[in-house]
């Protein structure tokens, strides 16, 4: 019956890939971490998206608070208010976070961050130490808030049976219109994005063809621009940055400031972005993002501007830094 395909998985291979932690604690490694350490690690690795107090920045997930809000019109679903199992918190931090640098959190750090998040949610005191030993003694506030799919009992009888075919309603009125919200992406002509063109536009013959985007030719032939190959390499390097920084036409501030015009700009001066005090002070003291300063910053962000809030370890390779700066110059002017 068996085909004899595949080979036995080795213990070291299973240990490397099977790191899932289950609600009963199965899969937890040895280790521990306290709230204070977790606070530090969180500030370093998590706070750029989730905020110093796990309050969530922009639309990034809020991790603390929201208790008692699940019946509200706008419920706040956090670890404290919604998550039923502590194992999920540890597992997700250890396996999938930080965003863009997954699987870099050590078991002790995962225990510490989890302890900090328990503290942020008012579940433990500030002297709490979480470990493999006491892990399953924690009961999450919403542990009883879930039940298995009951649609078969609660809905299917209601939604089955003979469907009405005629005179099913006395009067039908339009009660809501999407157009009043005006949140649909649109094409340049103002219609919903992707609206199909008229395949037989005899009556619309006067409508002009949209102008072809010929402008790119000019920018690519401009003299003294960055080396296209270097720019292309930089575009790849920039993927490491793109979760937080936007660049190019229409770029807006996100977790990090938008980077258009970064070369030659004074540090900490993008309008509307809330900088760390360290970065704002550095700009006020005269730091300008020259090619040289950008090189220094990107090779060691924490060392070059101490206590700034960019949670990025830096780029090891000078080639990568050359490339990403060329890309920024090309994409953001």
């Amino acid at each position: 019956e068996k085909l004899g395909l595949g080979r036995p998985a080795l213990p070291a291979e299973i240990a490397a890939w099977d790191v899932a932690v289950l609600p009963d604690g199965t899969g937890l490694p040895e280790g521990s971490g306290d709230v204070a350490t977790g606070d530090e690690v969180f500030a370093e690795k998590c706070a750029t998206c989730h905020g110093d107090f796990a309050e969530g920045i922009d639309n990034w997930p809020v991790l603390a608070g929201g208790e008692g809000s699940l019946k509200d019109r706008r419920p706040v679903k956090t670890i404290g208010s919604y998550w039923p199992h502590l194992s999920t918190v540890w597992d997700y931090i250890h396996r999938s976070m930080p965003f863009g640098a997954a699987q870099t959190v050590t078991p002790d750090e995962a225990y510490a961050i989890t302890a900090f998040l328990l503290y942020s949610n008012g579940i433990v005191e500030d002297d709490f130490v979480l470990s493999k030993e006491n892990f399953t003694s924690i009961t999450m506030p919403n542990a009883d808030g879930f039940y298995p799919d009951d649609r078969a009992e609660s809905e299917y009888a209601t939604f089955s049976g003979e469907a009405c075919m005629t005179d099913c309603a006395a009067e039908v009125k339009v009660t809501k219109r999407a157009v009043t919200l005006n949140v649909t992406p649109t094409d340049p002509d103002g219609r919903p994005a992707g609206t199909l063109p008229n395949p037989d536009p005899v009556v619309e013959a006067a409508v002009a063809e949209p102008a072809a985007p010929e402008t790119t030719a000019e920018t690519t032939t401009a003299a003294a621009g960055p080396d296209p190959a270097l720019v292309e390499a930089g575009a790849k390097v920039f993927k490491k940055c793109a979760a937080c920084h936007k660049v190019g036409e229409g770029a807006k501030n996100a977790t990090g400031p938008m980077l258009n015009g970064i070369l030659g700009r004074a540090a900490g001066t993008v309008e509307g972005f809330k900088y760390s005090k360290a970065m704002a002070d550095a700009g006020a003291a005269g730091l300008v993002w020259s090619d040289e300063n950008l090189h220094a910053y990107l090779s060691d962000p924490k060392g070059f501007v101490k206590r700034n809030k960019m949670s990025f370890a830096g780029l090891k390779s000078k080639d990568d830094i050359d490339a990403v700066i060329a890309y920024l110059e090309s994409a953001g002017g």
């Binding site: 039923p84 597992d91 609206t195 536009p201």
Partner: protein, 388 residues
């Protein structure tokens, strides 16, 4: 006057077109450039953990081309080659195993067409009509013909122990998205797939190997599949607790709501597919599907649900796959409130949005399979509305 397109010899009727090999792997002709995936930027904070939508308003038939089938990534679409590919089966099995890509190609294969629908399809409409266009309201769906190995054969190769009741599937990308399913489902119709629509999976659909879980929500169709763990309990991962659970009005939440209930939507006319041709013959066309089996009937209403007529189901309805329905009418040029309503082989009739809200409230995010209404105006423009 005579049509010059007929009376005059056109360039294309006189000189050469493209030679063979002009495009060794072809793209659609430039006139179809609007038939592409689109996203809604305000929905998510980062495009690497985001979703886009299939242009279902512009497609016909039932098969979704891979190149415009919606994408959902939690940490970006990764590039994983066949030589670098490994699949591990471990946990409560007699022999934990590692398979290479080639190992998988040596198991007996099956072919199966299935729809993949994100649990959040239609989720933006819980609070009321919100987005203009069926690409945006119902486009988190695609339907492909897959070829792969039944997961059952791989589990039998490893030998599931009697205490193994749950199967957890996990991807190789940085999000390591993982979902648990009962062993019975894993042994039933789940495929470990490597072809879609006759060719290798596209990168964005999990190349080289993804899970196909017919009838179940798209989040469980793990891409870049790297590990199958057998357990005695659900893992209760982030994707099956904090997400993909359905918050109910009493503040409690349903979990393990895997099956996608019956649903349908008229794809044309719709806001992105207005009527240009004026009154007279009009083809109303749409899609219907059910995670419980076959669609057996689709009704269409022209007056917002007062009166219904049965549409034609084209082709043979397949279980847990998209079905196409059409209704040909003679449009008199007056306003229409178009709706469609799917019925599946269990007897389930697609409910109205209000009937769903009466039970679930408006905060459950997922599994909104309520009836969609399109308001067709006299000039042929179409709006997304709700009626009561």
């Amino acid at each position: 006057t005579p049509d010059p397109l007929i009376t005059e010899v056109q360039d294309w009727a006189s000189s050469f077109g493209d030679p063979v090999d002009a495009t060794p792997y072809g793209m659609p002709i430039r006139f179809e450039s609007q038939v592409v995936r689109r996203n809604v930027e305000w929905l998510t904070e980062s495009p690497v953990s985001s979703i886009n939508f299939t242009p279902i308003h512009a497609l016909e038939g039932t098969i979704t081309p891979q190149g415009c089938a919606f994408e959902r990534h939690h940490s970006g679409a990764i590039e994983l080659s066949k030589p670098d590919y490994r699949l591990m089966i471990d946990g409560l099995v007699e022999t934990p195993l590692v398979f290479t890509y080639e190992d998988l190609t040596r198991f007996p294969r099956e072919t199966r067409t299935a729809f993949c629908e994100c649990a959040a399809n239609g989720g933006m409409e819980w609070g009321g009509a919100q987005l203009e266009g069926c690409q945006f309201t119902q486009g988190m769906i695609h339907n492909m013909e897959y070829v792969g190995v039944p997961l059952r054969l791989l589990l039998e190769e490893a030998g599931v122990k009697p205490e193994g009741k749950w199967v957890y599937a996990e991807g190789a990308d940085a999000s390591s998205n993982g979902r648990s399913m009962p062993l019975e489902k894993a042994m039933d119709d789940v495929l470990v797939a490597f072809y879609a629509n006759g060719e290798a999976l596209r990168k964005e659909h999990g190349y080289p190997v993804r899970l196909v879980v017919p009838g179940f929500e798209g989040n469980m169709w793990v891409k870049w599949l790297r590990r199958i763990g057998v357990y005695d309990q659900a893992v209760e991962s982030r994707e099956e607790t904090s997400k993909y659970t359905d918050l109910m009005p009493d503040g409690r939440a349903r979990k393990w709501t895997w099956v996608m209930d019956a649903k349908s939507v008229i794809t044309s006319p719709s806001p992105q597919a207005p009527i240009y041709h004026g009154k007279g013959p009009l083809v109303i066309t749409g899609l219907a599907w059910s995670g419980h089996g076959k669609v057996t009937r689709v009704d269409v209403s022209l007056d917002g649900g007062k009166n219904w007529q049965e549409a034609e189901l084209t082709g043979e309805a397949q279980s847990k796959a998209l079905t196409r329905f059409r209704l040909n009418i003679d449009w008199d040029g007056s306003e229409l409130l178009l709706q469609s309503r799917a019925v599946d082989e269990t007897g389930y009739v697609q409910p109205t949005k209000d009937a769903l809200r009466a039970i679930r409230g408006t905060n459950s995010v997922y599994h909104n399979n309520g009836i969609q209404t399109w308001w067709v105006h006299e000039n042929g423009e179409v709006e997304n509305v709700e009626v009561a």
